[in-house]
């Protein structure tokens, strides 16, 4: 799989089923055996999975699409991260000391309360990014609407 991936500049299509089959094989090995040979085998394939991650993510970063592959979610994550990063640097969000103001999009539990859509929350950039990716909040953009009436 990785070998094919390295031959081309563009990412290969890797179907969900293909990966689920692999998962089951590795799952069975991990559950059944615990010896030198199988530990090494799992390590070798873990490293390949790690490289698969690197190579494919790099390709996405260079602008290629993963199509309908099992990991196509990476594409959306990366594009959301990119948009956030650019807007963040360009001063589109209310920020201070590494925190950013976000608008709640889906109900969110916070400190004993359930926040509702339209509520605001000022939090660490890292956490905000996570909740942004899961569609629970979005950073408040200062320039969404026409600026002056």
């Amino acid at each position: 799989m990785l070998s094919k991936e390295l031959k081309d500049e563009k990412p290969e299509r890797i179907a969900e089923q293909q990966v689920e089959d692999l998962q089951l094989i590795f799952k069975r090995l991990s559950m059944k055996y615990s010896d030198k040979i199988h530990d090494e085998e799992l390590k070798v394939y873990s490293e390949l999975a790690d490289s698969l991650f690197e190579v494919r993510l790099a390709k996405v970063l260079e602008g290629h699409s993963l199509g309908d592959s099992f990991d196509s979610w990476e594409e959306e994550i990366l594009s959301k991260l990119r948009e956030f990063y650019v807007s963040f640097v360009m001063g589109h969000y209310p920020v201070r000391n590494g925190k950013v103001l976000c608008r709640v999009v889906k109900e969110l539990y916070f400190s004993g309360t359930v926040l509702k859509p339209g509520d605001l929350i000022f939090m660490e950039v890292k956490k905000a990014v996570g909740l942004l990716l899961s569609g629970v909040v979005e950073p408040c953009s200062l320039f969404k609407k026409t600026r002056r009436e």
């Binding site: 070798v44 490289s51 190579v55 260079e62």
Partner: protein
């Protein structure tokens, strides 16, 4: 991107298969992706990582590359060292196996003869790589894409060749791009 791909390639090399000789009659191994039967006389292709485990235990014998083999390739390659198209065909896992040889030799400890061999092998391999490397740079810079030449490269070399061509073409081809 190159460093990422190169790392991937080195990891992938551990799954390359080589023929081995079975010394010890053993069981069959359930590797999940395949079932390996280790039976004397039936010399199978095994993935490199498995050879690395079984060989030190004396269960199987691998066929490592020899110093003479490296010397022979180096001689052939040097004959036309300035002609890029003279690239000599070597096996795809040549570097992987050569590194294996170096590792074996370096385990020898203080044995003088072996240390000499290690030094010699290491130097020859280095020179072979440089010579082939220069030819590949030339091929890439001249934008040669002759399939028969490409077939003479190892996977690592082909990756190097492709990346070099890519960079050079991006730079030169930029002329028609929008600044």
């Amino acid at each position: 991107m190159f460093s990422i791909k190169y790392k991937a390639l080195r990891r992938l090399a551990r799954t390359y298969r080589r023929k081995v000789i079975i010394h010890d009659e053993l069981r069959s191994l359930d590797l999940g992706l395949e079932e390996v039967k280790l039976v004397k006389g039936n010399d199978p292709d095994l993935p490199s990582w498995l050879i690395d485990i079984l060989e030190p235990e004396g269960i199987i014998g691998a066929t490592p590359i020899t110093i003479d083999e490296i010397a022979r390739y180096l001689y052939q390659e040097k004959q036309n060292s300035s002609i890029p198209a003279s690239l000599v065909q070597i096996s795809n896992d040549f570097y992987f196996r050569a590194n294996h040889l170096l590792r074996e030799l370096s385990k020898a400890g203080n044995n003088i003869t072996q240390l000499e061999s290690l030094k010699k092998a290491s130097q020859m391999l280095d020179e072979l790589k440089r010579t082939r490397g220069r030819k590949i740079v030339q091929l890439a810079s001249l934008n040669v894409s002759d399939q028969s030449l490409i077939n003479k490269m190892t996977t690592e070399e082909y990756l190097v060749y492709r990346e070099l061509r890519n960079i050079i073409n991006t730079f030169v081809g930029d002329i028609s791009g929008n600044s």
